[in-house]
Symmetry: C2
């Protein structure tokens, strides 16, 4: 199965990368950009074919390695 | 509208970050991880409420600033 994982900063955590992108968009003439937040996107190909087991594995990956739960949230989708 | 943009490396482009994650997952005892690719995830809040215009704007943002089209692909979803 393939997991598509998004890791985002929690609300209230400063995001200087997002702010930099927002400023750059403004300089390029994009009006009406209210907020930009940057996160990480990770695709993991798993040999596991059982969805429940794959979900448990991805959940554990996020908690143990991929996300810093103090400042980040994660979400993911699984596809065959 | 809110745009959720994913920027990923094109197939064939070396991804040392993804490889590092893959190795780290292996060291942590995760078996069956076949491939890991890391990309960027960007959320943009737009004041634009018309979907077609928002789509055109996000498309232009990706092409002009967010993605390096030589080595990266982008995809996005728009929600109200």
């Amino acid at each position: 199965m393939k997991a598509r994982i998004r890791i985002t900063l929690k609300n209230g955590v400063l995001d200087p990368q997002g702010k930099a992108i927002q400023n750059a968009l403004g300089s390029l003439g994009f009006a009406g950009v209210e907020e930009v937040r940057q996160g990480k996107y990770i695709e993991v190909d798993l040999s596991e074919t059982d969805e429940a087991r794959a979900r448990a594995e991805v959940e554990r990956m996020c908690r143990e390695l991929l996300a810093n739960l103090v400042i980040e949230n994660y979400s993911y989708e699984l596809t065959a």
